[in-house]
Subunit: 333 residues, 2 copies
DNA sequence: GATTGGCACTCGGTACAATCGAGTGCCAGG
DNA sequence: CCTGGCACTCGATTGTACCGAGTGCCAATC
């Protein structure tokens, strides 16, 4: 690993660069760090750090900039979360004390909160619907040959799908099918739909089968929903219009964002920096993620997306706090 | 108004500037326009056009660029919609031939289609839910003292609100209330809820009243939903990061976009250019809007948002075609 | 009287050189 | 091993000259 002094130097370079966005020179470091050494010594150390891949120079005779690896070392060994201004803490507290209304609206507002606290773009992934218990299921006629199957889940989410009906399914049959569907589905989950028991009536069975099939394929918005806030802040975080376009383009493809977060969590990480996640277009971005638990089970995730030179301690603290509070809030119903 | 020649000159300036984004000089105009006059004559005319507010010079001794007023004259008198590449036409046709699934998903996809056809950001405003006929209403318990009122509308939209229950509303009471609610609401609209008739049971009446009240206030996402596509394209349309930030910031506040579109339509316009809509942050943008009709009634709107130097003929044609096709598609259920 | 060619003038953009200064790498001495 | 010193690099800034696109105006022309 890195010895004490190199670590300290790397730390100040990262911190300085995060703050100023300017390459950091040896003199600055020598003066800013607590260990009292000359700039020449710092230069030697920085040359080593560059050789080992923690720093780069944008061009000869400029200061140094951290690489992805440098940021990685920083977040892993040189910082611990926990520093969040009291004002910010208060805002998060207030938000969750006052939060109310539909699940979707709350998650959306949460993303805006997280964005405004961190000043980066924020993402909230909703709990997967598959896991929730079905509280109600019914069929509603929309048109002569089209019905809507509506399922209400225990967490307040409503899933719906259109179902094409065969000719000559009259209101009575539809009502029977609706009732039968309810008896079949209520209490189970979307992930494991109870195997439909025949009702003894062919028409009913057909409609129910179609409804269950419609519920099974979730091309709706992918398996789970995602809410985003503060996308505009990404524009301030970069200077090239082209970079902004790429990033916003990615954010528009919500399923990419979901799988990005899931991927990071699956690898047991809470931070992914630059090239660590595979997305070319986000090579100058970093994500900070935290899962949240509802009633003791991991259900979704919150995260922020910013430039690689983001304020990691703050972002980690904010994400941790919001995910924890959100989980708690959702657990109490 | 403008005489024949001034109009022709204005037209070529606008068209040229839209294409090249560069100030247009008198020589270019003299050579590109059909009327054969010298550049000196064009200069004189352009000086007048500038005096009357149709053109401006970014600085002395540069070419001219159109003002908002110039664009306005262009769209009002110098162009008619109708030119849409056959390939684009085909794409729109194909889309609506294949379109299926939930209303929301379809509208979202429509916004992406429109964006990709025009290469600007696109907006689709859903039909207001108030107008749709209620097909089903029910109450579902989520927690001991919380229920969800779920209303299915004729157009396939599902509205839902949480309702806080008084102590001691048991499942039987809730079931009764749900049934009573259904008899009260089915067939009416959210805009004019039938005045609740007493069921004779105090608990039932209380729950029903709470449910109706919850449905009445629509803080959900405002009165109607909005879907956007191609936001990232706005980044390519401008060169300053700051401008992009402002525009994306506005787009994130969806209700602002809705009221912008509504405002434009209410004024009987289909195009609003730069300062014509009141939004400071969109002063370098133009919107092109068209309402769409479902079953003969205006229900929603589609629009595109781009820089003031947008391709108006193309945008007008695309918006017109998409709105018309969308209306037709929604009318047939 | 409208149009036009001609001409002086303006002013942004580019090219180039000079200079500055921040920062480095290296080395010799403590 | 650390440090002061020094030569060197290279981006950024400044200044100057100049080119060229484009204008406004005017006298000549049709």
């Amino acid at each position: 690993m890195l010895d004490e002094r190199k670590a300290a130097i790397l730390r100040t370079v990262v911190e300085e660069y995060i703050e100023t966005a300017q390459p950091v020179g040896s003199a600055h470091v020598a003066q800013a760090t607590s260990l009292s050494v000359s700039s020449a010594t710092v230069r030697n150390e920085m040359a080593v750090l560059e050789h080992e891949g923690y720093l780069v120079q944008p061009h000869t005779s400029a200061g140094r900039i951290p690489t992805d690896k440098g940021y990685r070392f920083f977040v892993d060994h040189l910082t611990e979360p926990g520093v969040l201004g009291p004002a910010q803490v208060q805002r998060v507290r207030d938000f969750f004390d006052r939060a109310h209304g539909e699940l979707e609206r709350m998650l959306h507002d949460t993303s805006r909160l997280l964005s405004s606290v961190t000043d980066y773009a924020a993402v909230v992934v909703s709990p997967p619907h598959e896991a929730a218990v079905i509280r109600s299921a019914q069929l509603v006629r929309l048109a002569p040959r089209v019905a809507l199957v509506v399922v209400v889940l225990g967490n307040g989410v409503v899933e719906k799908r259109t179902v094409d009906l065969d000719e000559g399914v009259d209101d009575a049959s539809l009502g029977a099918a609706s009732a039968h569907l309810a008896t079949q589905l209520v209490g189970s989950t979307l992930a494991q739909p109870a195997t439909p028991v025949s009702s003894g009536d062919a028409v009913t069975d057909g409609v129910v089968a179609a409804a269950v099939a419609a519920l099974a394929d979730d091309d709706d918005d992918g398996p789970d929903q995602v809410f985003m806030g503060g996308v505009a802040r990404m524009a301030s975080a970069f200077d090239g219009v082209e970079t902004v376009r790429k990033v916003v383009g990615i954010l528009e493809q919500q399923y990419v964002v979901v799988s990005l977060l899931r991927d990071v969590l699956d690898r047991g990480l809470s931070v992914a920096i630059g090239s660590e996640h595979g997305l070319e277009q986000l090579s100058t971005c970093a994500v900070v993620v935290a899962p949240y638990e509802v009633e003791g089970r991991v259900s979704g995730a919150v995260g922020v997306l910013g430039p690689t030179r983001m304020n990691y301690p703050q972002a980690l603290a904010a994400v941790a706090m919001v995910s924890q509070r959100l989980g708690r809030r959702l657990s109490e119903g």
